[in-house]
């Protein structure tokens, strides 16, 4: 064999060897796989793998097989060299020696030596001896097959021994994806609800259906997401077919995993996902108000609550008919969303359920309900918290006239009214209607339009119609009504509906002839005189009766007292009717009677009612009080009766002057209109002719009135009577009435130019008469004012004298008490010692003056401790200390106090205190201190106050009165900003500005003392209080008027209680308490605040109105309802001062404005008598007001006020 053939043969043999090796490895791999399968199958029988376990095992098996295959492949791919194969052959066949390998190696050499060449050239080794199969490792082959056999046998034998379960497990292991369950004694057929989703808070029922051998236990394994695993034992199987076991979780709060175990059967692990309840996470609502309102600009928008709001939290007010655009989102994806108004409106989602939007028109006032639903069937529902502002009808208020009105002949009707609407007005009309027309509301019969005021959405409108240009008859009654229409148009946002319309009640005017007026006035005057006279008589009679009952009060029957009370009630009722009469028959006397009605008359009824049921002691007090009050009423009523004539006279004079003023004004207007009509014929109308005609009639009436009043006033006012006669004569001699009629005829004949001369002549004459009367007016007013001034000055002097006398008496009494009567002389000798006493008083005054010099200027902390709490201490007073002698000690001024103040100036730190308690003995020490000169005293530093302070108080220690007075210390100015306090609480010899003072159990000394303290007991201290609130307890009972400088500081103190103290000492610039303080006589101190307050402004307005009223009354100028306006202003001022709710103040002010407007209408034009007194709708005394402030908590006062207001305004 050639060397090349040899090499090729060796390579072939090498491949054969590789195949044999691969065969062995393959056999071993199969055996290993079978063994592994046996092991896994066996373990599945034991462990009953779940899907995961099976898959893991299978993957492990497959990995092993893969490794084995790779190992087999590597055997096949092993590269064997010819030398290696040759060596393997030589090893198997030793006969070859190493001849084969030598031949192989020598043949590969290119430059072999001759020896080697010869060796190669020799014949190849004996190849025939080489049997290739002999190269095979039979032993290893046999062993590997044996292993394979054993593995297969084991697998099969085990299967045969175990049976079906083995095959089941084997298949489960071979196919991990098979749904085949492990073989168990029990079988779980089904589990509900399996993997599911449930809402948090809902109940969850977990159940399984099982079957199997009896006695096996069924368990439920639960893995809450937020807790450790728990196992529930559900029961023991009975073995009777298929059984169901369930477990109920009443309220799902978190997600769960669960599985059931029945004997050796285990279910899969299922998951229950807990969903939170469906909720809205965002509701944005954009509001588009009704179109007409958009015209109102930004102010209107602001009033409507803005363009956009959060529907979950905001509570805006939205006008009806607005468009609401919704944009909402829930805490998870939803499948539908609706808004329920009158019908459900579905919203749309542009992003597959994440957010939803849509819009609705707010057509009704029903609440809007938004509903959302998710894929799981859960729903969320919310009601939009909006206040829907309904479009109300216009509010119409007739300011004047307020009832059926009678006008004097020739007077034109005047109507003043206000209209307002919550959104906007489009039209206001004045119509005339038939007098007998009673129709109202939407069903009213259309009237004849007099005038129309077109409005472009304005919200308020007010006007004063004076009948200008409207022809009317002066004989027939005339009825008007006002119609107001708002802007609720049919097309507003598509909401539909009619505009709101408000129609006033008929406003009726009647004209009386002068004769009728005279007779009516006379009847009214007579009736009034009788009424007042009767009132006086009734009151006098009842006073007598009360006086008699008081004399026999012990035997008087309760019914008799009740009779007097009822009589007083009748008197009050009559007085109420008098002041409620809109004709104001009492004139300026109305106010005193009104005060009587509201105050004394009401009180006396209450007192008389209580007398009968009172105890005897109390009965006496009440009876005397009743007599006092009745006497007061009688006095006022008698004065009113006496003043009636003056009132009547003044009213007549005022009426007469008013008539002349109206004539002048009317003629002047007519002249101007006539002159205008000369150039513009359109202005010459029937109304002007009527007016001129009416003026002629009015002049005739005026002349008659002048003559009549001249006769009646001759006795009381001769000068005025003469003037009236002079005017009447002048009118007749100048033939003014005829001139006026002539002018009217000219106008009627369309000859305005001809009418001008008689008109001018008439006006000139009337103006002269007016001047004449004005001169008298001024003269009389000046005289009256002068008389009043003198009377007031006289009264003022008397008051000054009284005050001086009182002051002197007090000073003398105090000094007398202060001076000890050492002589023990009887009181009768006091007179003889008067001169000496007078000298002592002089000394005393000097002493006081000296005392005033010692006090430095009070340092001001302006600091308040809001939390001052009181501790009461029970004290066991030592026996005999109430009578212990007073020890007098002298104390020098202490320089260390100045050093202490200097040190505290920088630190500003409060000095700590030791424990403090009340002394068990009375104050029996009188300290007489040496005082610093004011120049020595530096400015005392003010140490800040703490947040809370403890006040200690006890019952007053007993001490004899005389000793108590003797123990009074002297006044001192040795002051310390702060000082260590502790031990007994007693009045010391130094002033302290630390505010650490306690109330204690002794009375403060009777002396002036500055410093700083808490509330404490009443005394004559002149310092500053640092307590924000507290109770003033009983202290020094002999408070003298203050002698030192005023020391009120800024800050406000609230008084918690009051123990009949007379003064608090020092204090803050403002404060309030339940009782009044002691009256003072100090100098007037005006406020340093330059900026005006609301109260000041209100007071100023009232004063101005009062002055105007007084001047008008003095000058016989008509005042209309000015007195009413003043009354409301006064009430508004009182309400502001007392801190009543702003709403109530506003109401008073609104009433004042209304009264002023009414006055304007009443005084603005022709003479117009007051409304008919027979039908006053609401007497002024029962005005509909917001309820007065009561004891309700501050947060509810407005509400309570509104409540009472609604009650009082109820029909």
């Amino acid at each position: 064999m050639s060397p090349f053939g040899l090499q090729h043969e060796l390579i072939r043999i090498g491949r054969i060897l590789n195949r044999w090796q691969a065969e062995i490895r393959t056999v071993l791999l199969i055996a290993a796989a079978l063994a592994s399968l046996w092991l896994l199958t066996l373990s599945d029988l034991v462990f009953r793998y779940q899907r995961t376990g099976r898959l893991a095992a299978w993957l492990l098996l497959m990995a092993g097989v893969a490794v084995g295959l790779w190992y087999v492949i590597t055997a096949l791919r092993t590269r064997r060299t010819p030398e290696g194969v040759a060596a393997r052959i030589e090893h198997t066949f030793p006969k070859l020696d190493n001849h084969l390998i030598n031949t192989l190696q020598f043949s590969q050499r290119t430059n072999a030596d001759p020896m080697e060449q010869q060796y190669v050239e020799r014949n190849a080794p004996d190849w025939s001896v080489i049997k290739v199969p002999a190269l095979r490792d039979r032993k290893t082959q046999w062993r590997s097959y044996a292993v394979l056999f054993l593995a297969g046998l084991t697998l099969i034998a085990t299967g045969a021994w175990i049976g079906g379960a083995w095959n089941n497990a084997l298949v489960r292991m071979l196919n991990p994806f098979s749904p085949r369950t492990p073989t168990t004694l029990a079988i779980i057929h089904s589990v509900t609800p399996g993997n599911s989703t449930i809402l948090k808070g809902a109940a969850l029922a977990l159940a399984c259906k099982v079957s199997g051998k009896k006695g096996q236990i069924v368990y439920l394994d639960l893995w809450p997401e937020d807790d450790k695993r728990s196992v529930m034992k559900l029961g023991r199987m009975t073995g009777d077919g298929e059984e169901t076991y369930a477990y109920q979780i009443p309220r799902i709060a978190t997600g769960y995993q669960y599985r059931f175990r029945a004997g050796d059967a285990v279910s899969e692990r299922f998951t229950v996902q807990a969903l939170p309840p469906l909720a809205f996470s965002r509701i944005e609502v954009a509001v588009t108000p009704p179109t007409p309102r958009l015209r109102q600009g930004s102010a209107g928008q602001a009033r409507l609550g803005g363009q956009r709001f959060d529907g979950l939290t905001a509570t805006p007010s939205i006008p009806q008919d607005s468009i609401l655009a919704f944009d909402l989102k829930c805490n998870r994806e939803i499948t539908s969303a609706t808004v329920m108004t009158t019908n459900p409106v579905s919203l749309l989602s542009p992003d597959r359920g994440q957010s939803w939007s849509g819009q609705v028109v707010l057509a009704s006032t029903r609440p809007l309900v938004i509903t959302a639903r998710d894929a799981h069937g859960a729903t969320a529902e919310t009601t939009l918290k909006i206040e829907i502002i309904p479009d109300a009808a216009p509010m119409l208020r007739i300011i004047a006239p307020t009832g059926r009105t009678r006008l004097a002949a020739g007077a034109a009707p005047r109507i003043q009214w206000e209209v307002s609407d919550d959104f906007g007005l489009t039209q206001v009309r004045l119509e005339t209607i038939a007098v007998q027309d009673k129709s109202t509301g939407q069903d009213s019969i259309p009237g004849t339009q007099v005038q129309e005021w077109p409005l472009d959405g304005t919200r308020a409108f007010a006007t004063n119609w004076n009948g200008e240009g409207f022809p009317f008859s002066m004989t027939e009654p005339l009825a008007f009504r006002i119609v107001a229409v708002d802007d609720r148009a049919g097309g507003r946002n598509g909401a539909g509906g009619e505009p709101n319309r408000t129609i006033s009640a008929p406003i009726i005017f009647e004209w009386n002839t002068p004769k009728d007026v005279a007779s009516q006035n006379k009847a009214v005057a007579t009736k009034l005189a009788e009424a007042v006279k009767g009132l006086v008589e009734r009151q006098r009679e009842n006073l007598e009766k009360t006086t008699k009952l008081e004399a026999v009060q012990q035997t008087a029957k309760p019914a008799e007292w009740q009779d007097t009370a009822q009589a007083q009630q009748v008197i009050r009722k009559i007085a109420g009717q008098l002041i409620a009469d809109p004709k104001k028959p009492l004139g300026p006397l109305t106010e005193p009677v009104r005060k009587l009605y509201l105050g004394t008359m009401a009180e006396v009824v209450d007192v008389l009612t209580r007398v009968s049921g009172a105890e005897s002691a109390q009965k006496t007090v009440l009876a005397k009080r009743a007599i006092l009050l009745e006497t007061r009423i009688l006095r006022v009523l008698t004065g009113t009766e006496a003043g009636l004539d003056t009132v009547k006279r003044n009213q007549e004079i005022t009426g007469l002057l008013g008539q002349l003023d109206a004539l002048v004004k009317g003629q002047d207007t007519a002249l101007v209109q006539t002159k205008a009509s000369v150039t513009n014929a359109v202005k010459l109308n029937a109304a002007l002719v009527d007016k001129q005609d009416r003026l002629a009639g009015a002049l005739t009436e005026f002349v008659q009135a002048c003559r009549k009043d001249a006769t009646t006033l001759t006795a009381s006012d001769m000068a005025f009577s003469k003037i009236l006669i002079q005017i009447a004569d002048g009118c007749e001699s100048n033939k003014l009435a005829a001139l006026m009629l002539k002018a009217a005829e000219c106008l009627q004949n369309k000859q305005p130019a001809t009418a001008i001369p008689p008109q001018s002549k008439t006006l000139a004459a009337l103006t002269e008469f007016q001047k004449l009367l004005n001169g008298w007016r001024i003269q009389e007013a000046t005289q009256t004012a002068s008389d009043m001034r003198e009377a007031l000055q006289e009264a003022s002097k008397k008051m000054d004298k009284l005050i001086e006398l009182e002051s002197k008496s007090v000073e003398a009494m105090r000094e007398t008490l202060r001076q000890e009567d050492k002589s023990k002389k009887p009181l009768d000798d006091l007179e003889e010692e008067y001169v000496e006493l007078h000298e002592q008083m002089k000394d005393s005054l000097l002493e006081i003056a000296t005392d005033l010099q010692i006090f430095p200027e009070l340092p001001v902390g302006n600091d308040l401790v809001e939390d001052v709490f009181q501790v009461y201490e029970e004290v066991k007073q030592k026996l005999g200390t109430d009578k212990a002698a007073i020890q007098e000690i002298g104390l020098q001024k202490e320089d260390w106090l100045l050093a202490l103040n200097d040190a505290l100036k920088d630190t500003k730190k409060r000095i700590d205190d030791t424990e403090t308690w009340l002394p068990a003995d009375a104050d029996n020490r009188k300290a007489l201190t040496e005082n610093f000169d004011q120049a020595e005293m530096p400015k005392v530093p003010i140490i800040p106050m703490p947040g809370e302070m403890e006040d200690i108080i006890g019952d007053l220690a007993e001490q004899e009165e005389e000793l108590e007075k003797k123990s009074d210390d002297s006044a001192t100015n040795q002051g310390a900003a702060d000082i260590l306090m502790g031990w007994d609480i007693k009045e010391g010899e130094w002033v302290s500005y630390s505010g650490k003072g306690k109330s204690g159990n002794t009375r403060p000394d009777h002396k002036e003392q500055d410093g700083r303290s808490n509330v404490g007991r009443s005394g004559m201290a002149d310092g500053e209080t640092s307590a924000g609130s507290g109770k003033i307890n009983a202290g020094d009972e002999n408070i003298d008027k203050r002698m030192t400088q005023d020391s009120s500081q800024s800050g406000q103190v609230q008084e918690d209680g009051h123990s009949k103290a007379k003064a608090t000492g020092g204090g803050k610039g403002s404060g309030y308490g339940d009782e009044l303080g002691m009256a003072g006589s100090g100098p007037r101190r005006d406020s340093k605040i330059t900026q005006g307050s609301e109260l000041g402004l209100q007071a100023m307005l009232k004063r101005n109105a009062q002055a105007l009223y007084a001047r008008s009354e003095l000058s016989h100028v008509r005042t209309g309802s000015l007195d009413e306006a003043i009354r409301w202003m006064q009430q508004a001022e009182g309400a502001i001062a007392k801190g009543y709710p702003a709403q109530q103040v506003r109401e008073f002010q609104r009433n004042a404005v209304t009264a002023l407007k009414k006055s304007q209408t009443e005084l603005g034009g022709a003479v117009m008598d007051s409304a008919d007194a027979t039908a006053p709708t609401a007497p002024p005394i029962d005005d509909q007001l917001a309820g007065v402030r009561d004891e309700a908590p501050s947060a509810y006062r407005e509400l309570v006020s509104e409540y009472f207001k609604s009650l009082s305004s109820a029909p």
Partner: protein, 242 residues
């Protein structure tokens, strides 16, 4: 003399023992509270025998008040053995404490909740080597802004009443208790409030929600540089009306 907390007095308890003692103490506290109407002692640790916690039921550290004068008060308070008596309260003082500044040394019991309208009797034993004393019961109520709860501390309540103090001497009046070194261990009591209360007193008494026993050493005599002591034991407070 050794003062608590030296080892011969304090016996550190094992965990089990401590736990048991804690439970027992609390049980005792609740039992005492529940039986208050029955006239039993309302004071927790009135005999100062609770060795598990130093002065359990009493306040002796006033650092929280911010008053610098009282900041070191707790360094002068101890529970000790005095003569034949074991576990008695000792208040240590010198001239500075008693006189110069005079803030004294004091302890207060924890607030004891009481029903309205009660009359009480405070009984106490005391001995002094120098200081005089002020021992009295004070009425407290909840401080504004504190939410009421079951275990109020002194800083959560506010004083509104001081009842009459306990007098050890012959004179049953004055601002001090009247104890003196010559008297040795003396037992005294005080019944309160007064049966005839004034309107002012009644107003304050109606506010009382808790009682606190206040024990303080004030005034008296001293022996500088030695310390002088006020010893107190057997503090008993009982309600005497039903």
């Amino acid at each position: 003399m050794s003062l608590y907390p030296l080892s011969f007095v304090r016996r550190p308890a094992s965990g089990l023992f401590r736990h048991s003692a804690f439970c027992i103490l609390h049980s005792a506290f609740f039992l005492l509270s529940a039986s208050a109407w029955a006239g039993s002692n309302l004071v927790v640790n009135g005999h100062f025998s609770d060795t598990n916690e130093f002065l359990h039921g009493w306040k002796y550290n006033y650092e929280d008040t911010g008053n610098e004068l009282m900041a070191a008060n707790h360094t002068h308070v101890a529970v000790t053995n005095e003569g034949s008596k074991n576990h008695v309260l000792a208040l240590q003082a010198n001239k500075i404490l008693l006189w110069d500044i005079g803030q004294g040394v004091m302890v207060d019991s924890d607030p004891i909740p009481v029903a309205p309208g009660g009359r009480f009797k405070l009984t106490i034993s005391a001995k002094s080597t120098g200081p005089n004393c002020r021992i009295l019961v004070e009425g407290y109520r909840w401080k504004p802004g504190v939410k009421p709860h079951a275990h109020p501390k002194l800083k959560e309540v506010r004083k509104c009443y001081r009842f009459a103090q306990v007098y050890f001497g012959a004179e049953k009046a004055g601002t001090m208790g009247g104890i003196s070194p010559a008297m040795g261990w003396t037992k005294a009591s005080q019944t309160f409030p007064d049966e005839k209360m004034t309107k002012l007193a009644l107003e304050s008494f109606d506010k009382v929600q808790f009682l606190v026993i206040h024990i303080a050493a004030f005034s008296g005599t001293w022996k500088d540089p030695e310390w002088v002591y006020l010893y107190v034991d057997d503090v008993e407070l009982e309600r005497i009306n039903k």
